[in-house]
């Protein structure tokens, strides 16, 4: 069997067996949700509700403020108790957050919906936009922006990302087993929007059952390619290269090579918006890690506190010292266990303490260079960032780094390349003052 892949990468322990065989279960409704106005990449939304206001499930509570921004909806039926600034773990700054106290069961406010063949392309994109759908793989890029490329960019291929290369995470795997029909439905909608014939689903070969199931369900709709299990196989640029052989130009977007990539979870969300009229108010996620007592794959409402979700999974072990939103390679460690989940939270991973790392100087073993999927020299970027030579670092491809963490994972000297690269990127952007 031909396996599609890319150059570089690493093989972290997968640890997917913790939750791989757990069927997706729908969590009960949370009593209180914290919905950030920055539940997407780009400009935060503007709250359009007031304290004390009654809201229905699916009612718009935040409106986009820019082209790259998205709608935010109430995930429960209840009453707005507070609009306050809360620390956003990804952005690292306080962001407006609407706190809603649930008062009853779901009373839905639905979008116009029905058979997607009835709608025009523009109407479909509008539904996706009104539904507040963003990339559910983790980047939270607004989906309607991806689905409306400028006319000069001819899109010929839609890639559906089912790689799920992050250790511990199994939600996409479960979706492909249990919700393949919904994924197929979502793919058909996006096919119509983008007007493409070629759809490729990429799945790593550690999920052979998902490959078989998707092949069966997607016959005539999409091709299913088996990818080599390797991190970061699910990274957009690496996935595009693996299945089409096209390289997204440095600083460019997938649309520059005629490709749009969507996550399998996003396909389900698109189906639910168009066919059922439900805005994006819930998502599937994996709760796993050695620190979790009962690992699960759950569907939970956006804005549910992490502590509440962990309680549903039997709580965490006393020794747990790190709780991560997302996977362990790229996820964000949270300090406050009451942090809510976001639209892009694909998992909650609780990790037990490990031996403290003893950092050593770089011994030039060249493993980071071999591992870098972007063909960068992480050791060099680290050294340049350390010496504050940011312009030189940019010349060495600093801005091309996808922050996948392969270099820091493999490093025998335990150097935190990604931390320094992120810092250097931020400083460079700030110094450049917005200029290109």
């Amino acid at each position: 069997m031909k396996l599609f892949t890319f150059r570089g990468g690493v093989h972290p322990p997968e640890r997917k067996e913790l939750s791989r065989d757990r069927e997706i279960v729908r969590a009960p409704l949370p009593s209180r949700v914290f919905v950030s106005m920055s539940n997407h990449a780009g400009a935060p939304a503007k709250p359009v509700v007031e304290t004390g206001q009654e809201v229905k499930t699916g009612q718009v509570i935040g409106e986009p403020t820019a082209f790259i921004s998205a709608y935010v909806h109430s995930p429960v039926t209840g009453k707005v108790v507070e609009i306050k600034k809360m620390l956003h773990p990804v952005i690292g700054k306080p962001i407006d957050t609407v706190v809603i106290e649930r008062t009853g069961d779901d009373d839905w406010e639905l979008l116009p919906h029905g058979d997607f063949e009835r709608f025009s392309k523009e109407e479909l994109v509008d539904i996706v936009k009104k539904a507040g759908i963003v990339g559910l793989g983790g980047a939270m890029f607004p989906t309607h922006v991806k689905l409306s490329p400028p006319p000069e960019k001819k899109i010929d291929t839609l890639i559906i990302n089912g790689a799920e290369c992050e250790p511990y995470l199994t939600i996409d795997h479960r979706l492909m087993l249990e919700r393949a029909e919904d994924i197929a439905h979502g793919i058909s909608i996006m096919k119509k929007i983008l007007d493409v014939e070629e759809v490729i689903v990429g799945i790593e070969n550690n999920k052979i059952d998902a490959v078989e199931n998707m092949k069966k369900v997607l016959r005539g709709i999409a091709k299913v390619y088996t990818l080599k299990t390797k991190y970061p196989q699910g990274s957009e640029k690496q996935l595009i290269y693996a299945v089409t052989g096209r390289k997204v130009p440095s600083g460019g977007l997938p649309m520059d090579v005629g490709v749009v990539v969507q996550n399998v979870g996003t396909a389900v969300a698109v189906k639910e918006a168009v066919a059922d009229g439900k805005p994006l108010v819930e998502r599937g996620l994996t709760v796993a890690g050695e620190g979790v007592n009962e690992p699960k794959n759950l569907i939970v409402r956006i804005g549910s506190p992490v502590s509440w979700i962990l309680e549903l999974c039997g709580g965490v072990k006393e020794e747990t010292n790190r709780i991560i939103l997302g996977g362990p390679m790229m996820g964000i460690a949270i300090r406050d266990v009451n942090t809510p989940i976001f639209k892009g939270t694909s998992g909650i991973v609780a990790l037990l303490p490990e031996k403290p790392l003893v950092p050593k100087p770089c011994i030039r073993c060249s493993r980071c260079v071999e591992a870098c999927p972007m063909n960068l020299q992480p050791y060099l970027l680290y050294l340049l960032a350390l010496k504050k030579r940011y312009d030189d670092a940019v010349k060495e491809g600093l801005m091309d780094c996808i922050e996948c963490g392969s270099c820091a994972f493999i490093c025998p000297s335990k150097i935190e390349h990604v931390r320094y690269i992120k810092l250097a990127k931020n400083v460079y952007r700030a110094l450049r003052g917005g200029k290109k």
Partner: protein, 319 residues
């Protein structure tokens, strides 16, 4: 429950600097055992002494002279110590060996800033320092096979095959002798077989920049083959790759991570340069053997090699 907010990635590979160094030490065990069988107990003594003292020198320099109170021994000093032992004669006096080791670690490594910062391979710095300072001691070799218990000073001295070749003398060693190590020479430059066993171990553990030995040994083979075709007095290519310090140098010294290039292409160029220089010194230079000088010279070019062999960033347009 107290949460810490470490940076991504939150999981790390199990490898660390110490485990790499320990693997290199394990890979050198066959060569050390071989040397003590060929040359006697003193060879084993020198190797173990080098290991212990190398680590001790690292510790003293780091903790007391450089004031790094949190320094934890990492095994790199031990590797340098064993490699230096493998690079000297089996009857080098202990005092001279220790002077060489102190120089290797002090000047070869810590003057540059310690582990990871040095430009030159410390063991080779030590060897060349001893060669220049104590040429007689460093070029008096003993014949192998006297037995483990025999004192090396009671054993007959012998010339290395490369010295015989240089002087145009009659060669009476077979390829098999060279391969298993029944020839005169330094501790580690005798048995190709034992060095290869260690190398395969490092290869299986993925601890080695494999491109360097391939291009180094390949270059020596091809070049000496050309010269052999021109004039057989230069020695045939199989003789050249089996004799002297080439295997030790190509497999364990040139592949030193710190002092070799970072990219595959750079490693290819590095090995090529080492190979060309080794052949030129062996065939036309004043010394019979040129492995250590070639590697040291190429070490000095590593920053330039790294600069010209930058990988093209994924998606970068060809300029």
């Amino acid at each position: 429950m107290k949460l810490i907010t470490a940076n991504a990635p939150h999981i790390r590979s199990f490898d660390n600097v110490r485990s790499i160094m320990i693997d290199v030490l394990i890979a050198l065990i066959p060569a050390v055992i071989g040397a003590s069988i060929f040359f006697g107990w003193y060879a084993l003594f020198l190797s173990i002494l080098g290991m212990a003292v190398g680590e001790l020198i690292d510790y003293i320099i780091m903790r007391w002279i450089r004031g790094k109170k949190d320094f934890v021994p990492d095994g790199s000093g031990a590797v340098t110590g064993v490699l230096l032992a493998l690079n000297v004669s089996a009857r080098l006096p202990v005092g001279i060996f220790l002077i060489g080791l102190i120089f290797a670690l002090g000047v070869g490594k810590h003057v540059f800033g310690g582990l990871g910062q040095n430009i030159f391979n410390p063991a080779l710095v030590g060897r060349v320092f001893l060669m220049i300072s104590f040429p007689t001691y460093m070029t008096t070799w003993i014949i192998p096979g006297a037995g483990f218990l025999k004192s090396p000073w009671d054993v007959q001295t012998a010339a290395t095959p490369l010295m015989i070749l240089k002087e145009g003398g009659q060669m009476n060693v077979t390829y098999w002798d060279l391969f298993i190590g029944k020839v005169g020479g330094s501790l580690g430059e005798t048995s190709v077989l034992l060095l290869l066993i260690g190398f395969v171990y490092l290869l299986l553990r993925k601890r080695i920049k494999v491109m360097i030995p391939i291009s180094y040994i390949g270059t020596v083979f091809v070049m000496t083959a050309i010269f052999y075709a021109i004039n057989p007095k230069f020695g045939d290519p199989i003789f050249h790759i089996l004799s002297g310090g080439l295997m030790l140098g190509a497999l364990f010294m040139a592949t030193d991570m710190v002092t070799s290039p970072m990219t595959r292409k750079g490693q290819l160029i590095f090995g090529l340069g080492c190979g060309v220089l080794t052949v030129v010194i062996r065939l036309f230079g004043a010394y019979p053997e040129g492995v250590s000088l070639s590697i040291l010279f190429m070490n000095s070019l590593v920053p330039i090699i790294d600069a010209v062999t930058k990988p093209r960033v994924f998606g970068e347009v060809k300029r």
